[in-house]
Assembly symmetry: C2
Homo-oligomer: 150 residues x 2
C-alpha cells in the first residue's frame, strides 16, 4: 500500500505539470503524455486523478486548480528542520528536528488540521504527535515522510 501510495502521488504531480506546460486536449492524450514520462495508467485512472486533483476542463484545455493554501504551504518555511520521523508504540509519532525548531514545525503540523492528529507537544528539538490508533499513525508517518522527504 505504501508503495502504491507512492506511485499514484508522483503520477498526479506529473499530471499537473503536463497540463500546465503542454496542451493536452483530452484524457487519452494525457495518458500518452504520462506514458512518455514513464507512468503506466489508463484513461480511467487518469479520470480519477483529475477529479481528485480538482482539475477543470474548458473546451479543449485543462485548468489546474488554483494555488490553494494546501497543508504543504504551512510547511514551506520549516521543510529543512525535520531530521527524523519515528514511531513509539502505536499511537505516538516522534519528530526530531534541528535544535530550537521543534516549536515551528509543531505549529505547522497543528495548522494542517490533519484528521488523524489528536494533539502535539513540542520541546526544543523533539515533537510528540499523538494519533488515535495505529492506522492513523501510519498515515501520519507517510504524510510527514512525503513532506519532509525522509
Amino acid at each position: 500500500m505504501a508503495a502504491e501510495l507512492r506511485q499514484s502521488v508522483p503520477r498526479r504531480a506529473a499530471i499537473l505539470r503536463i497540463i500546465r506546460e503542454s496542451t493536452v486536449r483530452n484524457q487519452d492524450e494525457l495518458v500518452k503524455a504520462l506514458h512518455k514520462q514513464g507512468f503506466e495508467a489508463t484513461q480511467s485512472s487518469v479520470s480519477r486523478d483529475l477529479r481528485e486533483l480538482g482539475v477543470a476542463k474548458a473546451g479543449d484545455h485543462y485548468i489546474p486548480p488554483a494555488e490553494e493554501p494546501l497543508p504543504s504551504n504551512h510547511f514551506s518555511a520549516v521543510t529543512n528542520f525535520v531530521v527524523e520521523v519515528k514511531t513509539a508504540g502505536d499511537a505516538l509519532t516522534v519528530v526530531k528536528t534541528t535544535t530550537g525548531t521543534a516549536q515551528s514545525v509543531a505549529v505547522a503540523i497543528d495548522r494542517s488540521d490533519w484528521p488523524e492528529v489528536v494533539g502535539t507537544i513540542s520541546g526544543d528539538d523533539t515533537i510528540f504527535v499523538a494519533t488515535e490508533d495505529a492506522r492513523a499513525q501510519r498515515k501520519l508517518r507517510e504524510r510527514l515522510r512525503e513532506i519532509f522527504r525522509i
Copy 2:
C-alpha cells in the same frame, strides 16, 4: 438574424447566472434550469453555449470564466456616456455621447480593435465610426447597442 442573435445572447447570460447561483451538475440539469426560466434549448445548444462562453467544468460543478479583460472592459468607464447610436449611409455609424465624453468613448472603441471598424473621428459629443461595408456597419451597430444597452 438580429432576432435570433438576441435570443441566444440572453440565454447565455442566463446560463452564467444559473451556474453562478445554483448547483447544476451536468448539461441536462442546466437545460431544465433554463426551461424554468422560459428558455427553450437542448443539450446540444447548451454545450455550444458553454464552449462559446468559456465555462469550465471540474467534477460536478461548472466554473464561469474569470472576469476577463474583454473588449467590454475597455468600456467599463464609459458605459453611461453613450446616448444614441445611428447609422448614416451604409458605412458610417454615428455615436452620440454626453457632452465632452466622445473622446473617451472613441478611445475605448479604438482599443477594442474590432475588425469591422476602419476608423473613428470624435468631436465633443459625437463620434463617427467608419466601417468597410453595410454588413460590418450592422455588426458594429449591434455590438454598440449590446454594450451600451441602447
